[in-house]
């Protein structure tokens, strides 16, 4: 499994991320205040202003990040679980 902080996660997307049980479109407003600060840092680094995270398996933490024309696979059970909880937030 890839250990990945949210900052690292956004960095992956900016570097050229890929793809469900749930698909989540993330813009800067979709995150909490602390997270929004992190995303602002990432945007300053050239990250696209929006991208899509496709959670393909919540239990195993399997996700793909779709940004621009790229796709990167990510495994992070904690983040997948957090995203799953956001469904009803």
């Amino acid at each position: 499994m890839v250990e990945s902080s949210r900052r690292k996660f956004l960095g992956l997307a900016g570097a050229g991320a890929a793809s469900a049980a749930a698909a989540v479109a993330i813009g800067t407003g979709a995150l909490g205040r602390d997270d929004a600060d992190e995303s602002t840092d990432a945007i300053d680094d050239g990250t696209p202003t929006s991208f899509v995270v496709h959670v393909t398996d919540v239990r195993r933490g399997k996700m793909t990040v779709l940004a621009g024309t790229t796709e990167v696979a990510v495994e992070d059970r904690g983040m997948a679980a957090n995203l799953a909880r956001m469904r009803s937030a």
Binding site: A18, S19, A23, A25, S50, F51, V52, H54, T64, L66, A67, G68, T69, T70, E71
Partner: protein
């Protein structure tokens, strides 16, 4: 139909729906091959105010394999860009469109053409090339043929290209065939009989959007030469087309959409009717997403086609020999999956090797026919289907007869085809504007004002 709405998912996405592919040695420029891929099926000519157009969010490709492994050695990629000139009108055009750059045309579309080779070499052949408007009517597009000619572009000095609306050139008795495989000329022999009748062209008066590219033969062959020996393996190319969409699509709050991620193939076509008639419904979407090089997984549907089983049931007593034939259909495998090897048809081959793959196979050493027979190779005309496909080839009749057993003796001389196998047809011809003898070969599209639904196009 050929491949119009042939699979559940793509039937809901007409902009990406590849309906027909053609590949032939150009009759007026025999040192070139013309490649055509049609999209957006069954266009009613009066379909305004938002008339038909290519998708800005679709990657359209025509692929050529020349090395025998059914993988693309050359891909021609087409991307479109739409401009809205006047933000304050609902109209497609705010006056007569007298030329292709007329400002009265409110929604012009432009495109780029790229050639991508397997080794990664990429070349932009043209950019900002114009698509003509659709054929609206005598006030808006008065001289449509002239307008369309303005969109024929020479690019890179060696290629000629046209992207835009054309008259549907494919013809079939759609309403009849999908009514339990009725063929009107023979429906008196059907299990549920009615009086025999004349076939009805289901695409009458309808248009499509065509991508037409003319390429020097030397740009397509394995060794960069124009072969003259029909039996030379390097004289055969495989051709297919695809459409791809980005992996994710988000509908914005303002009604627009955003696409994310890499392109994924959603439509594919090589031989006409392959996915439509041979592949079972539950696997059609999967087939559309796959490359030809993986078609071994679908080979069983070619070797034992469902339609060959149905014909003797639906036409009792008409196909007794076909009903008794239990061997895998090696004839159909050769025609559709490998090409016809040397020794089957004297003086002809379009074999691409053992990789089972659905591609149109064109032997470019076969010169254009001076008097083309729409039944192509089975009628002794090796310049026609299934040696590539010309716009005028009657592929429905050819494939019906092949499935009915007419081509089995090519590989199994012990089999005698039923007499009906050489007579079976759907009884239709092209009732839209006729084909051109020169580029872009497909006829002028039916006009919106001029066309009464159900009446032949004018």
């Amino acid at each position: 139909m050929s491949s119009h709405r042939e699979a559940p998912e793509i039937s809901k996405d007409p902009v990406a729906d590849n309906t027909d592919v053609y590949a032939f040695v150009s009759p007026d420029r025999p040192d070139t091959v013309t490649l055509i891929a049609n999209f957006i099926p069954l266009q009613k000519p009066d379909g305004g105010p938002n008339f038909y157009e290519f998708g800005d969010d679709v990657l359209y490709e025509i692929h050529v394999s020349n090395s025998g492994d059914a993988r693309a050695d050359i891909s021609y990629q087409f991307r479109f860009r739409t401009v809205v000139r006047n933000q304050n009108t609902f109209l497609y055009n705010v006056g007569p469109i007298g030329s292709i750059d007329d400002p009265n045309w409110n929604r012009p579309q432009f495109y780029s053409v790229r050639r991508v080779e397997r080794n990664g070499r990429t070349q932009t052949l043209g950019d900002n090339l114009p698509v003509p408007p659709v054929n609206i009517g005598p006030r808006s597009t008065a001289n449509y043929a002239r307008l369309a000619r303005q969109a024929v572009q020479r690019i890179d000095r060696r290629h000629k290209v046209f992207c835009g609306q054309r008259a549907e050139g494919f013809f079939v008795d759609l309403g009849s065939i999908f009514d339990l495989a009725t063929l009107r000329p023979f429906q008196n022999l059907h299990l549920i009989p009615s009086a025999a009748a004349v076939g009805v062209n289901g695409t009458q008066g309808l248009n499509v959007h065509s991508i037409v590219l003319q390429v020097p033969i030397t740009q397509l062959t394995r060794n960069g030469k124009a072969p003259k020996d029909v039996m030379d393996p390097k004289s055969v190319i495989g051709v297919w087309a695809t459409a791809s969409r980005r992996r994710a699509r988000i509908v914005d709050d303002d009604g627009g959409t955003q696409a994310y991620g890499p392109f994924r193939q959603v439509s594919r076509l090589g031989n006409p009717l392959f996915n439509e008639v041979l592949v079972p419904m539950v696997r059609k979407d999967e087939w559309n997403s796959q490359p030809p090089s993986d078609d071994k997984r679908f080979a069983t549907y070619v070797r034992r086609p469902e339609l060959a089983t149905l014909l003797p049931i639906l036409y009792p007593g008409v196909f007794p020999n076909l009903a008794g034939y239990k061997k895998p259909r090696a004839d159909l495998s050769a025609i559709l999956l490998t090409g016809i090897p040397d020794g089957v048809v004297p003086g002809f081959q379009n074999f691409t090797g053992p990789v089972l793959s659905d591609m149109l196979r064109l032997n470019v050493a076969v010169p254009p026919a001076s008097d083309p027979n729409p039944l192509g190779l089975v009628a002794g005309d090796p310049a026609g289907f299934p040696n590539g496909r010309r716009v005028s080839d009657d592929v429905v009749t050819v494939e019906l007869r092949a499935v009915a057993g007419l081509t089995i003796p090519l590989v199994d001389p012990s089999f005698t085809p039923d007499s009906a196998a050489s007579a079976i047809k759907d009884g239709t011809t092209n009732t839209n504007s006729w084909y051109f003898d020169n580029f872009p070969y497909l006829g002028t599209p039916a006009g919106g004002y001029q066309t009464t639904p159900g009446v032949p196009a004018t």
